[in-house]
């Protein structure tokens, strides 16, 4: 076999592996959506869950998922963006900057169950929040934080240096330049990043089992952040592992399809707001 034949074979092999990756994803999507979509109904989406009999819905869980996501972003976006701005604008080569960078790296590699245990210790136990939506959201924001820092730093670094210099040359303070020049110019990239973070946080479950708990409030929708708040992905696990309802499999498949649809929507939406903003910022060009 000469080298040219080997080369041809290798090319064929690489095409096959590339197509295999896409086929694998397609098989996953078809399987989950195919199994789950038949179970999606108005009652399933907004109905209350059942403990013992069949036919329960996931309404409160769906609501809690978004509520916890919203609260966690409320906590983590200001801190994450702040730290990102620090790294992009203020950071000089110093021990402190190195420490912050290593912290971000380590934080992003902490297994989510460890966040869960930490959240249980700090928020549920020490601060007395028990299993609650607030405790879950606070713990979840730890997971978001490192990604937000990285996204913000990268977004601000993509803004041309001349913007920053021009603003300072006009006599602005650094804060004015950050607020009125850097952040607006970096906003499209920033929003893309935050949407991706949100998609990831929505599917997270290990963190929330022992911080937000495994049951839902009797009222729906319940905005009280001190109530227990099981989310959709936790429910999907719980109903398979521990629940007594006879239609656990159907509920799990329906929830999986629902989760996947939400994640798909987030992934598809990623481009849209940034594109609209881009259009407005560049005057429609």
């Amino acid at each position: 076999m000469n080298s040219r034949v080997t080369d041809k074979l290798a090319t064929v092999y690489f095409w096959v592996s590339g197509i295999a990756i896409i086929a694998l994803l397609a098989a996953f999507l078809i399987r989950i959506l195919g199994d789950g979509i038949p179970h999606l109904s108005w009652h399933f989406l907004f109905g209350r869950p059942e403990e013992i009999v069949a036919g329960g819905g996931v309404g409160p869980q769906l609501f809690n998922s978004f509520y916890i996501l919203f609260l966690s972003l409320l906590i983590s976006v200001p801190i994450g963006v702040g730290a990102g701005v620090y790294l992009a604008v203020y950071a000089q080569k110093s021990k402190f900057t190195d420490l912050v960078r290593i912290s971000v790296e380590v934080l992003s590699s902490v297994p989510s169950i460890v966040f869960g245990l930490f959240g249980f210790l700090l928020f549920a136990n020490l601060l007395g929040l028990k299993f609650s939506i607030l405790g879950g959201a606070a713990t979840l924001s730890l997971l978001n934080l490192p990604v937000l820092v990285r996204v913000t730093e990268e977004a601000i670094r993509t803004v041309p240096e001349s913007y920053w210099e021009a603003s300072l040359a006009l006599g602005s303070t650094k804060w004015q330049a950050i607020r009125k020049v850097l952040i607006p110019a970096a906003l499209p990239t920033l929003i893309t990043g935050i949407t991706l973070v949100a998609g990831r946080a929505l599917g997270e479950s290990a963190i929330l089992i022992y911080t937000a708990g495994l049951s839902v409030s009797r009222f729906f929708p319940d905005f009280n952040p001190l109530k227990m708040g099981e989310t959709l992905s936790v429910h999907l696990w719980y109903i398979q592992a521990e629940s007594l309802v006879p239609d656990a499999k159907n509920i799990a498949q329906g929830s999986a399809a629902l989760l996947l649809i939400v994640v798909l929507v987030f992934n598809l939406l990623v481009g849209i707001p940034s594109r609209i903003l881009q259009k407005r910022l560049t005057g429609g060009k």
Binding site: I21, P78, A83, P111, V263
Partner: protein, 310 residues
């Protein structure tokens, strides 16, 4: 003698910068916000330190009742009779991680080479969102696929129940493949073009160039990708929980029900009271996980430094 120029020349004392209360307020805001930014950066560091301290303190309490020797080297985990041997969990975690990396690396590297060097633009535009979507799928959904599809399939093929390390490794391989792929692809793309050109100019085929020149040159980046993938595999909880069987024993085969560190924590956390030895042992496992992921990050930094020096 009253021209504008004269006024400017004679008005030395009047050209001090105009400092109004508004300017002063802006400057105050500026220095305040500087501290806000420094503060949020410091907070990020404080968080990781407090995680290590909190989980560490709680975990180390285990050693008041259980000797380190027993915890790390005994295979007997029956907390109800005060036996806390975590060796099965450590062993299964290691085995599961290695197996999933071994399964994931070939496809991930092929995909990375394909995307970096062979695929036409339209193919790349399909593959990139596809790999992103792999990362976006929640881990419980992966677990459900493993439970409803892979486990029954393996069960039918071998005649057993199908739970164990093998289905978990297959699921994990799919989950970490995109991580390894995208980092390796970046590493391949970052190589200077002259390497490839020189190899092709010497008469090497594209395959020879990729295999003998590009892959070895991109080794540090690929290694980083693999280690990050390993980190994800070690820390993954829910998907593994749903397919590994969860018996606290040394696995006799790849299709024998067992438990890894993460799933041991999830399984027992709900049954134990805060402050008991059993509960503390779970924190000790979390500490082990934390130390492993710290070690992996340090290793990546060393690899990166080394390749910079060259």
């Amino acid at each position: 003698m009253n021209s504008v120029a004269d006024k400017l020349v004679n008005a030395k004392e009047k050209t001090r910068p105009l400092v109004t209360s508004w300017t002063r307020a802006q400057q105050r805001h500026d220095s305040l916000m500087r501290w806000v930014f420094v503060g949020s950066a410091a907070l990020v560091s404080a968080i990781i330190f407090s995680i290590i301290v909190f989980v560490g303190m709680q975990g180390v309490k285990t050693f008041a009742d259980v000797s380190p020797l027993e915890f790390f080297f005994s295979t007997d985990w029956t907390p109800t009779s005060n036996s806390f041997g975590a060796l099965p969990f450590l062993y299964s975690t290691l085995l599961l991680t290695l197996l999933s990396v071994v399964l994931a690396v070939p496809l991930a590297l092929s995909g990375a080479l394909f995307m970096a060097k062979i695929a036409p633009k339209w193919m790349r535009e399909i593959l990139r969102p596809a790999t992103d979507l792999f990362v976006g799928i929640p881990s419980v959904v992966y677990g459900l696929i493993g439970m409803t599809f892979i486990v029954p399939l393996l069960g039918r093929m071998t005649g057993g129940i199908g739970y164990g390390i093998l289905p978990a490794a297959i699921i994990l391989a799919v989950m970490i493949m995109p991580t390894i792929l995208s980092i390796s692809e970046d590493a391949l793309r970052a190589l200077p073009g002259r390497l490839e050109e020189a190899s092709l100019a010497l008469g090497a085929t594209r395959w020879q160039t990729m295999w003998r020149v590009l892959l070895p040159a991109a080794r540090p980046g690929i290694l980083t990708g693999i280690i990050l993938g390993m980190g994800r595999a070690i820390g993954e909880t829910m998907a593994v929980f749903m397919v590994i069987g969860n018996s606290p024993q040394m696995p006799k085969s790849l299709l024998d029900s067992t438990t890894v560190l993460t799933t041991a924590i999830v399984k027992d956390m709900g049954n134990t009271n805060y402050g008991t030895t059993w509960n503390n042992a779970l924190y000790l496992m979390a500490l082990v996980l934390l130390v492993i992921s710290l070690a992996l990050i340090l290793f990546i930094r060393i690899v990166a430094k080394r390749s910079e020096l060259k």
